[in-house]
């Protein structure tokens, strides 16, 4: 804690350079990754690094808050939403707006240069470190300030948070405007419109794992979209196994044939069987 002299120690320098690179890498990954999940994770990484930097800068309380609130709560909220929206819903990085990307890059670079230049020619020579500020302990110091000087702001943030919570509820919670239709009504409706009178067929052939994402096959072996839940269809997470199952069917017939007609054995046709499983494995 006393290590926070005005000029930082060389150890801190090392730490800075290493973690700084990590942070930048994380940031870059955040905007580069195709899948939201990966972006979220790399962002979390960056945040943790930042938490460390806070600590290094003598903002112990903030460092902890950073870890708990950001990396803990907010990023998890992100992940949660990502799950809700679709883990694998990767948006193509192909740009749709004409010239947007170049504009963005150019502006970004220019802006960065501006900022850095600004910092550069700003007279930031004096370092009276946090030594005496943190003398009574960082948290106490913050508390003293928050509850004296910034008390109003603090109160207002409280109000803000409550409002935010309420707003989130209002936005996400969908009001049911009309009476829920009973099972009878629904069945009647089904009959009336004539399509799909029966309940939807269940998914999953060859249930070797939780196969809600594998559509059931129609007699001709083609997959039936109806069998998977709309959400999955929406996300395009339906796994089509029709081709594979057909292949396996063929292999089965092959083998039975072999067992029956042993005399007419053709060595050339010896091992086609595992072909299918292999390709499945590749899948």
């Amino acid at each position: 804690m006393m290590g926070l002299a005005a000029a930082a120690s060389s150890g801190e320098a090392v730490q800075f350079w290493i973690l700084g690179i990590v942070a930048v890498a994380g940031a870059l990954c955040t905007i580069m990754m195709r899948r939201a999940v990966h972006s979220a994770l790399s962002l979390a990484g960056t945040m943790i690094v930042l938490a460390v930097f806070y600590l290094a800068n003598g903002a112990y309380f903030l460092g902890v808050v950073q870890v708990v609130v950001y990396t803990g709560a907010i990023m998890m909220l992100f992940l949660f939403v990502v799950m809700l929206v679709g883990v694998t819903a990767a948006d193509s990085l192909k740009e749709t707006l004409k010239g947007q990307r170049w504009l963005a890059a150019g502006l970004g670079v220019g802006f960065g240069i501006l900022l850095i230049a600004g910092i550069g020619n700003a007279a930031l020579k004096e370092f009276n470190g946090l030594g005496d500020a943190n003398a009574g302990g960082n948290v106490q110091g913050l508390a003293a300030l928050i509850f004296t000087k910034y008390v109003f702001a603090f109160e207002i943030t409280g109000a803000l948070l409550i409002t935010a919570v309420v707003g989130a509820m209002v936005l996400t919670h969908r009001e049911r405007t009309e009476r829920a239709r009973t099972q009878r009504e629904r069945s009647e409706a089904r009959i009336r419109e004539g399509r799909q009178v029966t309940p939807l067929p269940a998914p999953g052939v060859y249930a070797r794992h939780n196969a809600v994402d594998i559509p059931g096959l129609l007699p001709d072996g083609t997959p039936s979209e109806l069998t998977v839940s709309p959400t999955l269809r929406e996300r395009g997470q339906v796994r089509d196994v029709s081709g594979q199952s057909l292949a396996e069917l063929k292999a089965l017939e092959q083998r039975s044939e072999e067992w029956l007609g042993r005399e007419s054995g053709r060595p050339g046709k010896k091992r086609p069987g595992p072909a299918a499983p292999k390709e499945e494995a590749q899948k």
Binding site: A8, S10, G20, A23, V24, A27, T30, I31, S39, L43, T46, M47, L50, F53, Y54, N57, G58, A59, L62, V65, Q66, V69, Y70, A73, I74, F78, V81, V82, L84, V85, D91, R101, L103, A104, G108, F111, G112, L115, I116, I119, F127, N128, G129, L130, G131, D132, A133, L142, L145, I146, K149, T157, L160, T163, A164, V165, A168, M169, L171, T172
Partner: protein
């Protein structure tokens, strides 16, 4: 080592975040980039507070976090409701502002 480097880092992160906001179409990712920018600001604040030797910077950073939290909550809620209605989290699809 000179804490000014923290500022440079912050600037860099901020820029990257901004670029991300401009480039990505997935609303969630856009939000993450915004978070990134906020964090960059926080880093700058913290550094400044260290330079000037008083805690106000940290206080501001603290408030920023709170605000960020609130913003994320509401923002994500919006994203979810939009996704519900139009089955997409792409910011380009929500272009109703166009004349």
């Amino acid at each position: 080592m000179n804490p000014v480097y923290y500022l440079y880092l912050a600037a860099l992160l901020f820029t990257i975040g901004a670029a991300g906001v401009l480039i990505r179409r997935n609303a969630i990712v856009v939000f993450m980039c915004i978070e990134l920018m906020l964090n960059a600001c926080n880093l700058a604040f913290v550094t400044f507070s260290r330079m000037h030797g008083n805690l106000d910077g940290q206080i501001i950073a603290f408030f920023t976090m709170v605000v960020a939290a609130a913003e994320v909550v509401v923002g994500l809620a919006i994203i979810v409701s939009i996704f519900r209605t139009r089955h997409s989290a792409s910011v380009d699809d929500a272009s109703l502002m166009k004349l």
